[in-house]
Structure formats: structure tokens, C-alpha cells
Amino acid sequence: MTTHPANGLDDVVHQRVRLGILTVAHEAVRVEFSYLKDALGLTAGNLSQHLGVLENAGLVSIEKGYAGKRARTWISLTRAGRAALAEEIARLKLLISRVEQGDGAAG
């Protein structure tokens, strides 16, 4: 008996916004808070909440600094974050293929 792919999904990552944050941070070496806010269409408070969840789970690291006189917050993916993202993408693909194969348990 095999485990259903949905059973391995990580609640921290399996969420549209947080998956989006991890995806953007994976593509960029590091990404600035305001870019993430605009790209994901979030308010600053909402994004901060999601970043807090990811940071507590050790999936992203947050670095604060200045560019000239402007305060900047940079987000980058940790090694655990890269692994969690890869795992999530693999499980999503597996879930989709199960659904497409007519697996009743998935749909």
C-alpha cells in the first residue's frame, strides 16, 4: 500500500502565498520585501505574517539593511527552504498526475 502524495504535504509550504514567496526567493538570489509585496499583491502586514511563518520554520532568512537612506528588507531562501520547495513541487506534480490518471482518492 502506497502513501497518498497529499499526506506528505507540508502545511507551511502548501499555501498559495507562502509557495509564491519561496518560488520568488528561489529564482532570485535574494528578493526585496517591496518586490514580493507587489508580485504577490499583498499588504505589508499580510506579507510580514507569512514571512514570519516561513522564518520560524527555518525556510527563509530575513536581512534588514539600508540602500542609501532607505531601509530595505531582503529575503533569501535557506537550504531547508530549497528542499521544502522542491518537495512541495514534486508532490504537487504527483498529485496532479494522480488526478489525471483518474485516482478517485485524489479527487
Binding site: H14, A28, V31, F33, S34
Partner: protein
Amino acid sequence: MTSGAAYPGDDPRQLLSSARELASRVRQTQRATWLPLLVLAAVTFAAIPAYHAGHHVGSCVSVRGGRICISYYPAAFVYWPIALVLAYTAIAAFYIRRSRARGVGTRVRPYVTAGIVLALVMSGVSLAAVHHPPPYGQGLQVAVLARLISPASAIGLALLVLARTERSRALVVLALAYLVVVLVPVSFGWVIDEPAWFFVPRQVIDGSVLLLASIGFALAQRPWRQAA
């Protein structure tokens, strides 16, 4: 940390397609392919005076019907490594400044490192080839070998690294096409006996390919196209 429900969050298809769309948008923001192409085109055109500055005739061998001599350009040997290192430094500075302004980092280091290493290695190999020339009598192989260790070839190979970094198929195609232009002896029937002008058509062709490609990428990567 795991969920027992089949769908604890959003629909997997929507999640995956939204992640892909975001990744694609980030790549579009990161890409600035026109700039390295423009800088390298400028470096290629600027090499013409270095070839025009004079040449030295090295070792010669007698062959049936005459002699074959190795001719080299000392100014070009100095020009290329310095110009390419400066060019890649400028490209790195541009990408870093741009990524700070846009809020998205770019993996430019592999390209810049590959570009500088290739430029220095090929300059060294070219210099060694002058002192230890390959055997004569294999005209085509020697011609291709000479082009393979040329600065233009180093530029083309480094562009393949940039294509991988930017995950751009268009740039892969461009880099391969450029390498073909560099490696294939292109001739429109001209005969240039004067060594000071011998390399000019070559530099004009290579530089023009890079310049036209830069214009093409600049048009394709316009901000308003990305927004559409």
C-alpha cells in the same frame, strides 16, 4: 507539519501554475541580456585599432611554392585580456546595481567568472600557440583551432553560461549561432594582403552580430512588453 487532508490548501494545478507564472515573471525582471551583448560588441569593435597598431612575424617554414609565417599582433595580446576583464567587471556592476534597484537578485557571478576565466585562459593559449605553433599542412584544422582559442570564441562560450543563468533559450540559440560565425571561416570573396587590415572584417562581423543581437534583445525585453 503534514496534512491528512487531500487538499489542505489550494488546488494543486492552480498552485503549480501560479508558481510557474511567478518564476517566469522574476526571470523576466532579472534579464538584461542586451547589456552584456552591447558591451561585448563595443569591446570587439574597439579591438580594431589594436590589430591596426602593428604586427610581428614569428617563425616561418618553407613549403611547396613559398613560405608560411606565423604573424601576431602584440597590442591585441595586451588589449583582449584587459578589455574583457574590464567588460565583465562593468557587466557585473550593472547587474548588481540593477538588482538592487529592482529588488530582485540575479545570479550573474557564474557568467562573469566564466567570462574572465575563459578570456585569460584563451589569451594564454593564444600566446603559447605563437611560441609553439601547431604543425603546418593542416590548413582548415589550424584555422578552426585558431578561431577556437580566439577572444571571440571565449565571448561565445561565456554567453552559453549566461544563457543557462538567465534560463533563456533565445540566448542559447544566439550564443550557438555566434560561435558558428566565429568558428566558420566567413568570406565574401575579399582578399586582404595588408596584415594591418587582415582582422578588420572578422572584428566587424563578430561585433555586428553582437550589436544586432543586443538591439534584438533590448526590443524583446522592453519593460512594456513584460507588463503585457
